[in-house]
Symmetry: C2
Subunit: 108 residues, 2 copies
DNA sequence: TTGACAAATAGCATATTTGCGATACAACTA
DNA sequence: TAGTTGTATCGCAAATATGCTATTTGTCAA
């Protein structure tokens, strides 16, 4: 059964880098068309391409992705040597709605 | 001129306590009807009532409120000895919309 | 089996966050 | 003026977060 951990989700977004990761993964075709091992739109983006994209080491990127996975915002598919990451749109949408409702935020 | 600092806003919400503060301030009449110096709904809630509500020290509460103020989510009105805090609904709504748009989150 | 490449994990150093008590400041009261 | 109450700030200690290098693990190809 799926367990949503709000604490993990809140913390996951409390980082400019992780926000940027989610942004580039919103349009993988735009930012990772040079990925040759698999279609970035279909499968997702592998870890070391994300690391080089943001100029951080592979272990550092690996940990940020782990936090986003724990929050449920990312899904990772292991395929051969690579781990392909893509957004979980429904989790992001659900969180956004939860935040609004949780704080009882009215429409603008 | 009003300057929105997204970093401050993101960080401000990355704390369960600060989330709770915003929640109780959504309905001050419910949680702070015992405030005698001023109407909690009209003016807001003073710092030491918030501190005792959550069982933290006054300086600790003061700092959390400062972070929420810097984020723009709280307004504080100094009146006599007291500092009355209340939510800035428009700032919360604006942030919520920005988050959604910034990550390009689709509707549920 | 060896070597390569991709990713995960361990271990460590630094930075930031968070809590508190002590204290300063501000507004009132006797 | 002296004392009280409410708030802000300072200084410190503990907990978390974040980055790196080194190492381990997994997968594949010679």
């Amino acid at each position: 059964m799926f367990m949503t951990n709000r604490e993990d989700q809140i913390k996951a977004l409390a980082s400019e880098l992780r926000m940027e990761i989610l942004r580039v993964l919103d349009d993988p075709g735009e930012h990772f068309s040079h990925q040759v091992s698999a279609d970035p739109v279909e499968l997702g983006v592998c870890v070391h391409l994300l690391a080089s994209k943001f100029g951080v080491s592979q272990p550092t990127m690996s940990r940020h992705l782990e936090l986003l996975k724990r929050a449920g915002f990312l899904v990772a598919k292991r395929q051969q040597k690579w781990t392909y990451c893509s957004r979980d749109e429904s989790a992001l949408a659900e969180y956004s709605e939860w935040l609004r409702g949780s704080l009882n935020i009215r429409a603008v």
